[in-house]
Symmetry: C2
Subunit: 201 residues, 2 copies
Amino acid sequence: MPAGNPFPEEPSDTQTAIMKATFDALVAYGYAGLTIDRIGEFFPKSKSLLYHHYEGKDDLLLDFLERLIESREAEFSPREDVDARTRLERLLEGIAASEMSDADRGFSRALVELRAQAAHDEDYREHFTRSDQFFREWIADIVRDGIEDGVFREVDPEQVAATIHVLAGGILTERVTSDDPQVEAVRAELDAYVQARLLAE
Amino acid sequence: MPAGNPFPEEPSDTQTAIMKATFDALVAYGYAGLTIDRIGEFFPKSKSLLYHHYEGKDDLLLDFLERLIESREAEFSPREDVDARTRLERLLEGIAASEMSDADRGFSRALVELRAQAAHDEDYREHFTRSDQFFREWIADIVRDGIEDGVFREVDPEQVAATIHVLAGGILTERVTSDDPQVEAVRAELDAYVQARLLAE
């Protein structure tokens, strides 16, 4: 669940410009403080276009999340030229990076708030269900490749993926909702886990 | 971060009655739908008492969370008569139980929403920072005892605790924000982790 901005600085079409404006507004105001008007502050064209396209803030945000997955899908297509061990390493680095840019932090805050909407909103829950499934499958793929290549043990790829995925969500949340997140400790333990449980002797 | 109701069915004093009413209202309405009036629905005395004691919903909820930790502290004091392996087992069972009562699910939903408030609200963040520290210390204690007794390896207790704690938060969130939470898979992998990383040969 990487937090980086997948939208280009200079969007070439209206839809992408709306998505970029939504991302910027989420970073600036979070979910709670977000309004279509505030998204308009980051949108170079007329605000009326936003009201024309969407019924309200949640309608827009669900479309935004949808496009976010699509862009991740394109980004995370299996890269046959990179070995499983390196892909796992990059994944863990992404999940538990020691530093975080202001934009990443701002967007992570918004992601945690958006996810919390799913506790009571079926549309958000549907989105996060699919999003989780995608990211789990992506992690399971790495584990499967590593087993095939003989660098990982014969573990259950789905089981390992489910665990790393849940951990990633936990770190993201702790990071933006605690003043004392233990990201480095978790990262070190993740390395120990990979060593003790995943890496073939 | 267990989700069970720590308040007695028949509270003997006003403060405890307020806490129980808040718990029941959170289960019924979640954070987003909560109002002091709705807490009043579960409060046997006059609603004006609620308005007298608290400035608003968040003021009341922060007090509620504070008392929740206090009751957990009392509950989780080290039990010298139970060995570390059993305490770890109970902990993992609590974190990743396969079944969840309706009340636990309702309260877990509210907890995820309350935690998300901490992304933008310093008072909530302060609470969850302390709450996290308490639960981590509690887990680290189990690990420390297990090492002392020779049933666990010489791992870093804080590091293991930080990881199990983050995982617990991730499971709680996935459980109430996805229609396809992988709790059983994570539980099985947790057992494998304990085997591969914690248990002494």
